[in-house]
């Protein structure tokens, strides 16, 4: 498809219609001219010729098959002879013209051009902030749905027309402009609004590392300040992306390795992380914590290597099962086999193991490993890698202790980075914290908000996001504590269903879990966790001076000017 010409639909039509239109004009001209020359008679029967006006009128309604009859007077035989010619000529002319037009409308190039133009127009007209999602596969779908749920606009690029067509079926709130195109092409990204100021971020989520790399480079060069999130499966491509300054490179397997290490190291911190970064509205089930001891790992590929390292760093004993000997002369014990049968698992001492990881590239083999391992050792902790989302029912039926679904991991990570940038520093602090502290925090938060994934959002105290609070605080205003601020605007004796996790100050200092008497200052950025209504309640408090006044002082100030004057007079 030629992107450079996407505005040329009208020109394409005109150019293709040149010959048929010229033919039609010629046929009309010949017919009209003939009719004015062929001898006829007037109303009195005197010889007369038809005028151009009448000839054009007659040919117009005859050629378009309307046919009013012989106007203005009955024709002579000579005129009828010529009209016969005209009728057949005009049929040929119209057939040719309409045929060309319909052929053009059916033409794939033309339809592509039309679609591209419509997409470009939709994107041009987008005046709200939007995210650019490249690749509408499983990951793209999760991200799009979550962003849509949060009220964000999305523009999608997808190579496969079938997947792109699915977008209409998914029942999203907002319309998602979609283009069937290779996102690795800069022109496609440009049409999709990469350079628009409203574009808030780009996500390269295709299942092809090369395409993701191309998107990363394009984003880096055409929109340098834009946050770019790139999925990548191999370390080489990740290094390449990092070399030109891509900030967010998401390798799902590496992420899972980190999670597993965290879960071994500090189970509560891991639960907390899972709870905070889940997709809003889902339930997180408190599951078994991975035990410490001997682990059996089946499949030593890219993912296996990362996991083995993560387990090893946590001090676990690891035994590998693979058909090939480990290439890097690793110090782990190695058993030849594929783990789907009992002998290899027994040789790897599955009976004495506390955990098994099935991470081959084949879903059926992975499930087979897990089932066999559980039969041999019912208490074993099972981690299974799910490669294709289509196999989800099988994995749900099996009930593993932890499953690795790359698309979900990437989607969670993308959403966390894009929607709440403050979450990342908080999670870093969380990972470094002590287990009992994390356990206490988890207990407190889940008792207050239950195990459903909460809404995590951030607010900055500035003129745009919190105008009322900002103008109250700005000229050395009163002290506003968190406790006083986070109250219901209907009944101020009730606290809002949310909590501040982290505050980042202008001067670079941060506070983890600020106390209730913490005084808010202009420029503070707050990371909040809570339920959906609390977010809109707080937003109203921060925006509306009257609401803020009521929340802080209990005065129910009147809104309009007249009522304000009256109220002022009433006060001493």
């Amino acid at each position: 498809m030629i992107y450079g010409r996407h505005r040329g639909v009208i020109f394409l039509v005109l150019r293709r219609m040149r010959a048929p239109l010229a033919a039609l004009i010629t046929i009309f001209a010949v017919s009209v001219l003939g009719l004015t020359i062929v001898p006829g008679v007037d109303a009195q029967g005197e010889p007369a010729r038809m005028s151009f006006f009448h000839a054009f009128y007659f040919i117009s309604y005859t050629a378009t098959t309307i046919g009013f009859g012989e106007v203005p007077t009955t024709f002579t035989e000579a005129q009828r002879m010529w009209v016969l010619v005209c009728i057949y000529l005009s049929v040929v002319g119209w057939a040719y013209t309409l045929g060309s037009l319909f052929a053009l409308l059916q033409d794939k190039t033309f339809q592509d051009a039309l679609r591209t133009e419509r997409f470009a127009r939709e994107v041009r007209r987008l005046s709200e902030p939007f995210y650019l999602v490249c690749g509408y596969g499983e990951t793209g779908r999760l991200v799009t749905r979550a962003l849509d749920h949060m009220g964000m606009r999305v523009v999608a690029l997808e190579m496969d027309p079938a997947k792109a067509a699915e977008l209409d079926l998914h029942g999203l709130y907002a319309d998602v402009p979609t283009l069937v195109a290779d996102a690795g092409q800069p022109e496609a990204l440009r049409i999709a609004g990469l350079e628009k100021p409203q574009c808030k971020g780009i996500m390269a989520l295709t299942n092809n590392d090369e395409t993701n790399l191309a998107i990363a480079i394009t984003a880096r060069l055409l929109a340098p300040g834009l946050p770019a999130l790139c999925r990548c499966q191999t370390t080489e491509v990740a290094a390449n992306m990092a070399s030109f300054g891509t900030r967010h490179i998401i390798n799902p397997f590496e992420k899972f390795g980190e999670y597993l290490a965290l879960a071994l190291h500090s189970p509560s911190a891991f639960h907390l992380l899972e709870w905070l970064t889940g997709i809003a509205g889902n339930e997180v089930k408190p599951h078994r914590d991975p035990p410490r001891g001997h682990w059996v790992l089946c499949g030593y590929g890219d993912f296996g290597r990362l996991l083995a390292r993560a387990l090893d760093e946590e001090g676990m004993r690891v035994t590998l099962i693979d058909r090939e000997p480990p290439p890097d002369g690793t110090r782990y014990r190695w058993v030849r086999g594929d783990g789907t049968g009992a002998p290899a698992l027994l040789e790897a001492d599955i009976r004495g193991a506390c955990g098994v990881v099935a991470c081959t590239g084949n879903d059926v083999n992975n499930l087979s490993i897990c089932v066999t391992a559980r039969e041999l050792n019912p208490g074993v902790f099972v981690v299974v890698r799910q490669n294709h989302f289509g196999n989800n029912p099988l994995f749900e039926a099996f009930e593993s202790d932890a499953s690795v679904v790359p698309s979900r991991i990437i989607a969670h990570e993308c959403l966390a980075i894009l929607t709440t940038p403050l979450l990342a520093p908080f999670l870093t602090r969380l990972k470094a914290s002590r287990e009992d502290w994390a356990a206490a925090l988890l207990k407190r938060l889940t008792e207050r908000f239950d195990w459903r994934v909460p809404l995590v959002w951030s607010v900055r105290v500035n003129a745009r996001e919190a105008p009322a609070l900002f103008s109250l605080l700005m000229p050395a205003g009163p002290e506003v504590t968190l406790e006083a601020l986070l109250r219901d605007h209907g009944r101020r004796d009730q606290a809002l269903e949310c909590e501040v996790l982290y505050i980042s100050r202008d001067d670079g200092s941060n506070t983890l879990l600020p106390a209730g008497n913490y005084a808010v200052r202009p420029g503070d950025e707050l990371l909040l966790v809570g339920r959906r209504p609390a977010r809109s309640h707080l937003a109203l408090t921060l925006e509306n001076p009257n609401t803020l006044d009521y929340v802080l002082t209990g005065n129910d100030a009147p809104g309009g000017w007249i009522w304000q004057q009256l109220a002022r007079r009433g006060r001493p």
Partner: protein, 127 residues
């Protein structure tokens, strides 16, 4: 030699010459202006317009716009002629003749511009 160029040039020049042929003569004398010539001018002008469709260059755009102007003027002249002969009941009297001919004069100007552009384009290419 390019056949497309020949046809293109032919229609542009032909449109201008026919238009001129209709236009010359005493302004209000119907004897000097043959209606068949007006008809031919309209048809050739329309075909010339269609031939200019779809050219995306700057010069192509000017070509098309001059042609559209000429079409508009000539069609207006034809409409006035039809009004005079069939509807007004006066026939082609000197007043109506002057109207028709002056409208075609405007079209002639547009056609002359078109020819000038054609010549300029040819000189520019130097091939």
């Amino acid at each position: 030699m390019n056949l497309e160029k020949v046809v293109f040039g032919f229609f542009i020049v032909f449109a201008a010459t026919l238009n001129f042929g209709f236009f010359v003569g005493q302004l209000d004398n119907a004897q000097h202006h043959d209606i068949y010539e007006l008809f031919a001018a309209i048809v050739v002008n329309l075909i010339a317009t269609v031939l200019k469709f779809g050219d995306r260059t700057q010069i192509g755009a000017i070509h098309l716009s001059t042609s559209l102007v000429a079409d508009l003027q000539l069609l207006a002249a034809a409409a006035v002629w039809a009004w005079a002969t069939h509807i007004a009941g006066t026939g082609l009297d000197p007043a109506y003749t002057a109207k028709v001919v002056s409208l075609s004069g405007g079209a002639l100007f547009a056609n002359v511009v078109s020819v000038i552009i054609l010549i300029a384009e040819t000189i520019m290419q130097r091939r």
